[in-house]
Amino acid sequence: MKSTLENIILPKVKNPIQYIGNELNSVHKNVNKNTIRYAFAFPDIYEIGMSHLGMRILYHLLNEQENIYCERVFSPMVDMEKKLRENSIPLFALETMDPIKNFDFIGFTLQYEMSYTNILNILDLANIPLLSKDRTLEHPFVMAGGPCGYNPEPLADFVDIVVLGEGEEVLLEILEVYRQWKKQKTSRKDFLHSISNIEGVYIPAFYDVEYDEEGKIMGFFPISNDYPPKINKRIIRDLDKSFYPEKMIVPYTSIVHDRIMVEIFRGCTRGCRFCQAGIVYRPVREKSPDTIREIANKLIQSSGYEELSLASLSTSDYTHLIPLVEKLMEDYKDRNIGLSLPSLRIDQFSVKLAEQIQKVRKSGLTFAPEAGTQRLRDVINKGVMEEDILRTVGQAFESGWGTIKLYFMIGLPTETIEDIEGIGNLGEKVLKEYLKVDMEKRNKNIKITLSTSSFVPKPFTPFQWEPQNTMEELREKQIHLKRTIRDRKINYNWHDNKTSFLEAVFSRGDRRLGKVLLKAWEKGCKFDGWNEHFNFNKWLEAFQEVQVDPAFYAYRQRKYDEILPWDFIDIGVTKEFLIREHKNALKGRVTPYCREACVYCGIQDLDGGWSCYDNS
């Protein structure tokens, strides 16, 4: 098989290097009967999956352990899939090229709802039964975790184990229990039973759901008293002490984020009401500047990368950002190493920072005001004022930037036509700021891009009860905005609203969606996040054939007392807080961000207690 693959198939597919795991710092181990083999699966292609930091961390963490061998697997591109199927070659892991069906675990990371069909496709290509109930002792256990895991219910039929929260500790705890179980290999159920009380572990098969005549959830409960009714998410309490790799794989082929990524903190202090990450990743935990510098140095040394990126949800909010950046700049002064700071807030401080790190090449600045009017920004608690935005871009133009991108959402709760027009107006005001700058001084290549995505209500946000705008409404808003924008220096682009609709269905869906997913996959749906592969009609057919109404999930206003599919998960932030925030949103009332005043989101009562800012 390996020979067919290497000599006959690989020369004929696009970018074959993505299927060969011989990159620098990839891990190659000897396999023996005690080795627990773990396939870390990213349900998209290599260049996307390899850009994901979480995978990089867990891959090296697992491989640090004796007797655990973690390898990688990605969705093969369409041409490769065809060849694999034609030649009956089961999907393999990159490092050893061994079929993953013989592994102990396949762990999927859930980054995006539109990758769910790819999960099914990977299982199928690997010759692993799609449905959890059909797997036997010969098959691996299928695990899932990651941001979409905060509502794992649409995947309940396919996944054996869901890991909630940060994986560094819980993964090792599960594998330790597995090591014991593997000696006897009694039954699959036995193993699942024995890990079901590890904090952060959810076994969908051990829970049952009842629905009322309208289709709403009437009851969600464990099938026996052995299993916890509520599942707590896991967090790493001290990031300075937790594992971070000193070596990272250096891909040969270029990937989306082709640079060293060093995490600077987890969580977010901001509390934007549409943002799931801002809530589920609480509390904020920072790495110390010394740890960050040490890691950065080791990673640069071991990779030879020419660029370093500081990763977090909101870089500007890192307490010691200025001294950190100054020190890093000093460290790399003569080494031609670039520093990139994603997720900067809209303020003058950000422009100064950007100026400092982009001394020579002003590549462009991106900001996310998210909404076009102050009223709506208050509704979503995006604590940024129009004056801030204009002053910030004004300063950027003064400093020589010409390319500015602004990100917005349309379809936000309470949105009116004024808010839509507000996006265009803001674009024009930004342009005016440019025109104010001295002709001689300003960048000749002015380009303002306004980009809108369609709002998708997410679990564990204050908007989790809100309906999504219909596809028609979103379309009308997009067209209206397009008409509002007259100046040729302002570009407008928008996301496809059909994908947003499906995202809304799956992000707040329940386990009845499993049959839709299966049907859609059978019809050939895969790579749904890719324009060229997405086929909306097939999805509509799938919903119809299994008689599930997608509007029930996307367009329905929920009441506060409705049992939501993800209510069994305890993320630390309380439902009371989310309700309070939802009410504040509807009144347009702003909630201060965590550092200004604690609003008691619930995280303070985290197991063992938690205090967010005792050091500062």
């Binding site: 020369p11 290097i17 011989n22 620098l24 250096v250 040969y252 082929t253 990368y305 031609n336 020579v360």
Partner: protein, 249 residues
């Protein structure tokens, strides 16, 4: 040379093995630059907005081929011993890329790219059946006795063009036949002036209309690249003799 000073150039010979044969030329260049950084070799950078390391490769190898004769010139800021450089780089390179030789000189040199004239290749044709190995010797003779061998190409503008590659083929020798595998050696014009890809020549040879050789796959290995001096083919590294920098003497 820009500022009138002599450059210090390390000419490096390396191999590209099975593990990395699917890396494109661009990916290889990037991998090499990162290896130079890991080895902490003080290389020269271009000036300007987007400084890039001064590294230049000899003729690109097609994706899928292996080689024991790849060359790269690296401009250094300070003179270093070739043996040391070899050791440093081999300590940080990923599986499949290995430094075979390195000489450092501060004498003015023509660019590596322009000096390459010829390439020596070994090819094994894994035929579908042993019967296809029969008569290969006479087929080679016949092939080489043609007046012209026409290659059809599509140019950058998307138009079909034709050219005669016969003068670019210096030799084709049958090395051996084992089971269903035919092993050949070819000398082909390689470089920036005249160039023909080995896979093109092989395809011309085997895809003879009446009796094509059906094969599963080809393995192509570049044995060496040559430059020309006084009518002789010599290795690009032999053009280069190691000279310590003045400040080091």
């Amino acid at each position: 040379m820009e500022d009138g000073l002599a450059m210090i150039i390390a000419r490096i010979k390396f191999s590209k093995g099975e593990e990395v044969k699917y890396i494109s030329h661009l990916d290889l260049q990037r991998a090499f630059q990162r290896a130079l950084r890991r080895a902490e070799i003080d290389i020269a950078y271009s000036k300007g907005f987007n400084p890039h390391p001064k590294v230049s490769f000899a003729t690109a190898l097609s994706v899928g081929m292996t080689s024991d004769g790849e060359y790269v010139d690296v401009e250094l800021n300070n003179w270093q011993n070739g043996k040391e450089l070899t050791k440093k780089l081999n300590g940080v390179l990923a599986k499949g890329i290995k430094i075979l030789d390195c000489v450092v000189s501060d004498e003015r040199q023509p660019s590596l790219m322009s000096t390459i004239k010829m390439g020596l290749y070994q090819i094994s044709i894994h035929t579908k059946d042993k019967k296809y190995t029969l008569g290969i010797n006479s087929r080679i003779k016949e092939f080489l006795s043609q007046d012209k061998i026409i290659e059809e190409r599509i140019n950058k503008r998307g138009k079909k063009t034709k050219r005669d590659i016969k003068p670019l083929i210096k030799s084709i020798i049958l090395l051996n036949i084992e089971d269903n595998i035919i092993s050949l050696e070819m000398q082909l014009a390689t470089g920036s002036q005249n160039n023909v890809k080995p896979e093109i020549v092989i395809k011309k040879l085997v895809n003879n209309e009446e009796t094509p050789i059906i094969y599963d796959f080809l393995k192509i290995h570049r044995v060496e690249l040559f430059t020309e001096m006084n009518g002789k083919y010599i290795s690009p590294i032999d053009l280069f003799s190691e000279k310590p920098g003045r400040e080091n003497m």
